[in-house]
Amino acid sequence: MIEFTDVTKKYGENIGLEHANIKIKDGDFVFLVGPSGAGKSTFIKLILREIKADSGTIFIDGMEVTKMSNRMVPQLRRTCGMVFQDFRLLPKKTVFENVAFAMEIVKFSQRTIRRQVPHILSMVGISSKADKYPHELSAGEQQRVAIARAVINNPKVLIADEPTGNLDPDTAWEIMKLLEQINRRGTTIVMVTHAKDIVDRMNKRVVTIEKGHIVGDVREGAYINENY
């Protein structure tokens, strides 16, 4: 459960987000859309406590992010998997190691890691590339590795900031199907995107942000403004 109550975040004069109210239930699949500079990344950074809200309260999975001490932030981030437009894989580690890395950080034993990683790699469909390095993979394959890493520790929420931004339409669509599959297993998904066709085709909840305000929130919606 993600809950924003009257959240405001300003960067000096610039408005990041203002009086934002939203509830995202467990298992939801939400698209976050809006023009550039609308406050989408601000929304995500607030969830992950990369930045602190000026006012209002934010709850993530029962944790009050707005009152959380720095010590608890790692705990929060373990509840949220992250996927980025630029994949952010470690170039000197193999596919297997990149995914295992996320488990090492959370201090799983090597035995559990060796059992779990192949499982997740096969789920995202890149078992055969386990020993390859990121630069030996296509963009779509790299994003699959990133998704595997994001979900290996079973986060409650998966947050994706333009995960298909660097992918061609076909590959993008495959990634979307993978995200949908992950969502079906119960993971809440919040995805920022500018891709109108994807939003229209997926038919999921769409939250629209404009100039720091949440201006639209529709179940089974479609991309509203052609100009974004």
Binding site: V73, L76, R77, R88, L90, F101, K107, S109, N153
Partner: protein, 296 residues
């Protein structure tokens, strides 16, 4: 446990992978510690010399008039013993004084035989438990009837104390300065490895690594650098100091009438100081270099 193992594994890999930088910073820190060590030894030696000098001047001699009887001298000793700062007082007759002269003059002692009568006065000797109380004790002694004079070496002692304090303060200042410079050097080295791994660190943060998990390897890296530097510096300082003792030990004995602190005695002490110091410098340097990356 797993975190510690991970930190050490990572740190060794990093030190080795960036060996040029690691070696460069080990060199500069060793150089700092070398200078620091020499100042440390200077401070220790000055301290020892001061101790010796103080011991030499912790005895007062109260000269008595010839008309003062030994009985009244004994009374004086009684009351002096109760004065604050006095550890012991005893009667020192003119005969014993002459005897001391004879011993000191050795071969030339026969010259004393030409004296018609013993010109030395009877006196009371007082050892002080606290040098700074000397003035007060002298005041008390001068007030007794039958006292001729109480020579005061306080001014001289003050001079010595002032100079040695100056030297030790100066050495301390240099030591503090060098420690700060060392911390900056380590933190810059670590910052390079941190920058090289900035991406990795940001990913670690997203995946929910705690700050200590991220900091661990860099901390160990800094401590390793500090540890190597400390050991190298102890070796160098001792080599230099052994040479100094060999060359100037005799002169020091003559000039300052104290011997230099022996080299092998200092090795243990220096290791005891340098190892924790080097490791702390490394740890502090790496924590400082990481601050910016771990503020959220």
């Amino acid at each position: 446990m797993r975190t510690i193992k991970y930190a050490f594994k990572q740190a060794f890999t990093q030190v080795f992978r960036n060996r040029t930088m690691s070696i460069a910073s080990i060199f500069s820190i060793t150089a700092m510690l070398l200078i620091l060590g020499l100042f440390f030894i200077l401070a220790v030696n000055v301290g020892l010399a001061t101790e010796n000098a103080k011991n030499k001047f912790d005895t007062l001699q109260i000269y008595l008039l010839d008309t003062t009887s030994e009985e009244s001298a004994q009374e004086m000793i009684q009351s002096l013993s109760t004065v604050d700062g006095v550890s012991e007082a005893w009667y020192f007759s003119k005969e014993s004084a002459m005897e001391e002269f004879r011993v000191r003059w050795g071969d030339q002692a026969y010259l004393l035989d030409t004296l018609a009568k013993n010109p030395l006065p009877n006196s009371i000797k007082v050892t002080l438990s606290d040098l700074s109380k000397a003035d007060a004790v002298i005041e008390v002694a001068k007030a007794f009837p039958g006292v001729e004079d109480v020579p005061n070496s306080q001014d001289f002692i003050d001079q010595i104390l002032k100079i040695t304090n100056g030297i030790q303060t100066g050495a301390m200042a240099v030591i503090v300065f060098l420690v700060i410079v060392s911390v900056v050097v380590v933190s810059n080295t670590i910052k390079l490895t941190v920058l090289a791994r900035e991406r990795e660190i940001s990913i670690m943060k997203y995946v929910g690594a705690t700050n200590w998990f991220i900091r661990g390897p860099f901390l160990v890296e800094g401590m390793l650098i500090g540890c190597f530097s400390a050991l190298a510096a102890v070796g160098l300082v001792m080599a230099v100091y052994a040479k100094i003792v060999e060359l100037f030990g005799q002169q020091a004995l003559l000039l300052l009438s104290t011997s230099l602190v022996p080299a092998n005695f200092l090795t243990t002490h220096l290791t005891g100081v340098f190892l924790p110091l080097g490791i702390s410098i490394g740890a502090l340097g790496s924590i400082i270099s990481m601050r910016r990356f771990l503020d959220t």
